[in-house]
Symmetry: C2
Subunit: 138 residues, 2 copies
DNA sequence: GCGGTTAATGCAAGTATTTGCAAATGCTAA
DNA sequence: TTAGCATTTGCAAATACTTGCATTAACCGC
């Protein structure tokens, strides 16, 4: 049982168009933090007719279904990660840009507390937390 | 010792221009979650000549100094809060849009853990955490 | 008060993303 | 097959910022 995004789409009644297939392929073959523009470039190479708004709309759909996560890592553009490849988080230094990768368990306590105390099911699958790293703490 | 943003700017060697004074006034007199466009509208009413890029640049400066916090509450535009008025967070339901306000202490444990284990000083002064509220949990 | 220096501003163009709408196309049922 | 219909797409325009650059104006020292 692999993380078959296309299969899941079909199963849920979404149409599997060539555009969607290519967008999903680009996400699957990426290094896991791919931007809309990068997806667009890859898809366009095979099928120059596609429009970038289709890329954004497909990403929106995949987010809603929970198949990809969207994370703002402070670059002025957002990056996408296939949810099936596992969860983790990032600490991002606002001074030097350094990042530290975190295991998803770092936010487990918070997630549990929010569910227990507020009945809120927080989406903490792929977060960027901003601040200052050891080197840049004044 | 009030949260005198203008005084702090001056003290740090920034020039106190009429534009900055009006932008700061708009932030101080807001309900604490004001957008750039709303600040712009208020400032413009007094001084039609100002440009919105000045508003954005001033907000950027105030963020850097730590005098305001910037938070994406999922509205497609970001909101600003005077840091001197105290910290808190929001849970935002991605389904119905409902929000739950949280005391800043909810993230204290996380903040401490990040500092202790990674030497990372996280800026957790005004966060929006997305997810699903009790009503919308399926 | 009065220039000089340099930070801050206005303006226009650029980037990332979203949206309305009409045309195209996948899927269903006949 | 093929018509019917809803979904998806392309396109163009809109939105929320951001940035480069020339001009303006705080603020410092005289
Ligand atoms: Zn990541
Ligand atoms: Zn750093
Ligand atoms: Zn708030
Ligand atoms: Zn809800």
């Amino acid at each position: 049982m692999k993380q078959d995004i296309l299969g899941k789409l079909e199963e849920l009644g979404y149409r599997v168009t060539p555009q969607r297939a290519m967008i999903v392929a680009a996400i699957n073959h990426s290094d896991d933090h791919i931007s809309a523009e990068e997806i667009y470039a890859q898809v366009r190479a095979k099928y120059p007719h596609v429009n970038i708004s289709t890329v954004y709309r497909t990403l929106e759909t995949l987010k809603e279904i929970g198949l990809v996560t969207e994370t703002d890592m402070g670059e002025g553009r957002v990056r996408y990660h296939p949810a099936g490849k596992g969860h983790h988080h990032h600490l991002v230094c606002q001074e030097c840009g350094a990042t530290i990768d975190l295991d998803e368990t770092v936010l487990s306590n918070l997630k549990d507390a929010l569910r227990r105390e507020y009945g809120f099911l927080a989406d903490l699958r792929h977060l960027a937390i901003f601040g200052h790293c050891v080197k840049c703490k004044q």
